[in-house]
């Protein structure tokens, strides 16, 4: 068996040493006790004797004399006569030997499974999660634990409250707020701590928050001059959170994006025919024109990924998914809920989701997640008899499609034969950000939408 010759530790604090000189040569017969090599460490040159007898075999990649190496580094082997050179084989088996050595390993407390899990009437919950649940007014009993042992933990409670720690307002202990009230307070910009102080002991509910919001008159975003004071008969309204956010976003878009709007008129006759066919099936929810356009626009975005893009730091990110925001006018203001992964969804799914979201938008029950993550927006003013307009880009998206009304018109269908027909025509207005995409590609994209509207079956191929 080959014996390993290693850099020895020649002092308590010696960490490294360098081989000074081999006193035997490769292939020499060495007896135990003979001086084999010398080592240079901090102070002096020290002799090292062979601890075994054998033939000295020095591997070609052994540390050269003069190079400091850690104590324990392999320098050579002493093999029995006739033995195979151990260089490669030994190196491969040495790590395996380490792994298979049956040694006691560092002890750690075994991860405890929740005791009597199956007998529990309520799920297990961590103490912290229970505390946070009571602070946020969340009932944790119906939650599902994401903890490895099935335990409900803090993150499960926070998700249920639909409030992230970054945005959550920490309230003094003892203040109870319903989860709905907390969300509405966040949207309307009502300070919960102040409100709680006005009604100590009461569990704050949505009605309390909305009443407080109506009383608030907040300062307008910075204006260069003081506007004229209100005269009698004027109606003075508070600037709601949603108005403020819309104003900030619109002005940011106007200032930052290099917006240009393209318009085209599409022949929507086939689209109208398709929708009528879908209307005849009364058992299913009828997709709206917005739903149909969402599906078609998603297809166009797949074909034109540079429009489904946004700036991110020093890069431009082309999104793998198409998430389309649908502009919804509500009592409180403009909201743009997002349908995610449109490219994977059927028209029916899109119709169901958008109907649900519009309902939630109108009743004020959208969550922050519903409003984020869009890659494109569609805004439809056709119901107000609008044809073309210049929609404002919903940053950080690249473009927004404004949809006008569908109007029956007399149009030329065959120039040579000088034949006209009555067709359903629809104007499309695409505002795009010229920083991200140029006019020609944007125009090509709009043309693709136009062609899809004119021949909707193209979406199948």
């Amino acid at each position: 068996m080959a014996f390993e010759v290693v850099m020895p530790r020649l002092g308590w604090n010696m960490e490294t040493g360098s081989l000074f000189e081999w006193l035997k040569q490769d292939g020499d017969r060495v007896e135990a006790g003979e001086i084999l090599f010398t080592v240079e460490s901090d102070k002096a040159i020290q002799e090292v004797e062979a601890l075994e007898s054998g033939i000295l075999r020095i591997p070609p990649d052994t540390p050269p004399p003069g190079k400091p190496v850690p104590v324990g580094t392999l320098l050579a082997y002493l093999v029995t006569p006739g033995e195979e050179l151990p260089f490669v084989a030994q190196a491969e088996t040495a790590p395996a030997q380490k792994q298979t050595a049956a040694t006691p390993s560092p002890t750690r407390a075994v991860p405890v499974t929740v005791p009597h899990m199956s007998e529990r009437k309520r799920p297990a919950v961590s103490p912290r999660a229970a505390r946070v649940a009571s602070e946020l007014g969340v009932d944790w009993t119906p939650l599902k634990g994401s903890g490895r042992t099935g335990r409900i933990v803090e993150r499960d409670v926070r998700q249920a409250a639909a409030v992230t720690p970054a945005t959550e307002e920490t309230l003094p202990s003892g203040v109870r707020v319903s989860p709905v009230a907390r969300r509405v307070a966040h949207e309307l910009g009502v300070n919960l701590e102040q409100l709680a102080a006005q009604m100590p002991g009461k569990r704050i509910e949505r009605a309390d928050v909305e009443a407080a919001a109506r009383k608030v008159v907040s300062a307008a975003p910075s204006a260069p001059r003081m506007p004229a004071p209100a005269a009698t008969g004027d109606v003075v309204l508070p600037i709601t959170q949603i108005r403020r956010i819309t104003a900030e976003r619109m002005v940011a878009s106007a200032h930052n994006a290099a917006s240009a709007t393209l318009t085209t008129e599409a022949d929507a006759t086939e689209l109208v025919r398709l929708r009528n066919q879908l209307t005849s099936d009364i058992t299913q929810l009828v997709p709206s024109y917005s739903d149909l356009l969402t599906k078609l626009v998603a297809q166009a975005l797949i074909e034109h990924p540079q429009v489904n893009a946004r700036f991110m730091g020093e890069s431009i990110v082309q999104s793998a998914t198409v998430n389309i925001g649908i502009a919804v006018d509500t009592e409180r203001g403009l909201l743009v809920p997002v349908v995610y992964d449109v490219q994977t969804k059927s028209l029916r799914q899109i119709a169901q989701e958008s109907a649900a979201m519009i309902e939630r938008a109108r009743s004020g029950r959208l969550s922050p997640d519903d409003l984020h993550g869009g890659t494109f927006t569609i805004t439809n003013l056709g119901m107000y008899e609008i044809d073309t307009f210049t929609p404002i880009i919903n940053l950080p998206e690249c473009a927004i499609l404004g949809v006008g009304r569908i109007m029956p018109k007399q149009v030329v269908v065959d120039v040579e034969a000088e034949r006209v027909a009555v067709r359903h025509m629809m104007f499309l207005s695409l505002t795009f950000d010229h920083r991200l995409v140029d006019g020609a590609p944007a125009a090509h994209f709009l043309q693709t939408i136009k062609h899809l509207i004119e021949c909707p079956w193209r979406v199948l191929v």
Binding site: N13, Q97, T107, R108, P111, R131, E154
Partner: protein, 325 residues
């Protein structure tokens, strides 16, 4: 700031205290002209000679009890055990006399004695020279126990220990002796009972004992690349223990791992875990985890020795498991 080794820093602290107070003297095997097996007293014999650097025979019970008497009668002995394992011979009079005389004399007797030695599994020192033995001193009323992990703390804590009127265990992990770090010149005292937050984080708290602080910091660095933010706490002194720093951290993170190469049963990790459970139960999002050395005497073989210790790999896995809870 200049950087010196842990050993040099502790020695600087000892040198300054011996210069400042002539009643400070050192007792131990080889600490005289040899300068100490771990270089703890190099250069001091030349300054003060055999009167204040007293070489002893190999009889720990004898010379420790002599120093107990010396402390009682007004001197300030530093007993240098070399390997802390040797101190176990002196347990009897340490626990019955050294620890109790202040109480039994109703405070008339002071016990200004420092007991120093090297601890830890390191360098193939094997079963008799690799002990830690922290819990014994945490469990008996009357002892203080400090374990610096940086050269600056080595100097500062040794100076504070020498000036203390209580028995203080000053334990130096063998793996840290040659670690270099910035050390302030001149008067630099580190108070007892003040932990150091070595790395700030928000996802999980890891308390490291002695050399395990280094391992924990290595693991934290790697975990940061996985997006996991680890807060690493170095208690620096175990008796008194700064539990408040640990509690504040657990309040932030909700998850605690204590890494100690010493054995698990009734160990430092068990004590910290219990105190945190008692005082911060509602801050815990998961059970507290301990990572200890294997419950076996330290092996001689380097391969085996490595396998009984909590390493960076084990800490990484323990943190990931803790976050999955």
């Amino acid at each position: 700031m200049r950087e010196i080794t842990f050993v040099e820093a502790a020695r600087e602290g000892l040198t300054e205290e011996m210069a400042r107070d002539p009643s400070v003297f050192v007792v131990g095997e080889g600490i005289g002209s040899r300068g100490g097996n771990f270089n703890t007293t190099v250069g001091l014999y030349d300054l003060y000679g055999p009167e204040r650097l007293r070489d002893t025979p190999i009889s720990e019970r004898g010379f420790t009890t002599l120093c107990t008497g010396a402390a009682v009668t007004g001197a300030r002995p530093v007993v240098d055990f070399m390997f802390i394992d040797f101190l176990t011979d002196a347990f009897g009079d340490m626990f019955n006399q050294m620890a109790k005389l202040q109480w039994m004399s109703n405070g008339r007797i002071k016990m200004p004695i420092v007991l120093r030695g090297c601890v830890g599994v390191f360098g193939s020192n094997a079963a008799h020279h690799s002990g830690n033995y922290f819990p014994f001193f945490l469990h008996i009323p009357g002892f203080h126990l400090v374990m610096p992990t940086t050269p600056a703390d080595a100097k500062g804590l040794l100076k504070t220990a020498i000036r203390s009127d209580n028995p203080v265990l000053f334990l130096e992990h063998k793996g840290l002796l040659n670690v270099k770090g910035p050390v302030p010149e001149g008067e630099h005292l580190v108070p007892f009972g003040q932990a150091a937050v070595r790395r700030e984080g928000k996802d999980v708290t890891v308390v490291g004992i002695a050399f395990m602080v280094i391992k924990a910091l290595e693991a934290a660095g790697q975990l940061a690349q996985e997006g996991i933010s680890v807060e690493v706490i170095d208690p620096r002194t175990l008796a008194p223990l700064d539990i408040d720093t640990i509690l504040a951290s657990v309040h932030k993170t909700g998850r605690l791992l204590v890494v100690d190469e010493d054995y698990a049963p009734c160990g430092v990790a068990a004590e910290i875990a219990t105190q945190v459970m008692e005082q911060a139960f509602d801050d815990l999002d998961a059970p507290i985890q301990r990572l200890n050395g294997a419950f076996a005497p330290a092996p001689y073989s380097p391969v085996l020795a490595e396998s009984v210790l909590p390493g960076t790999k084990q800490i990484l896995q323990a943190v990931r498991d803790l976050l999955a809870e």
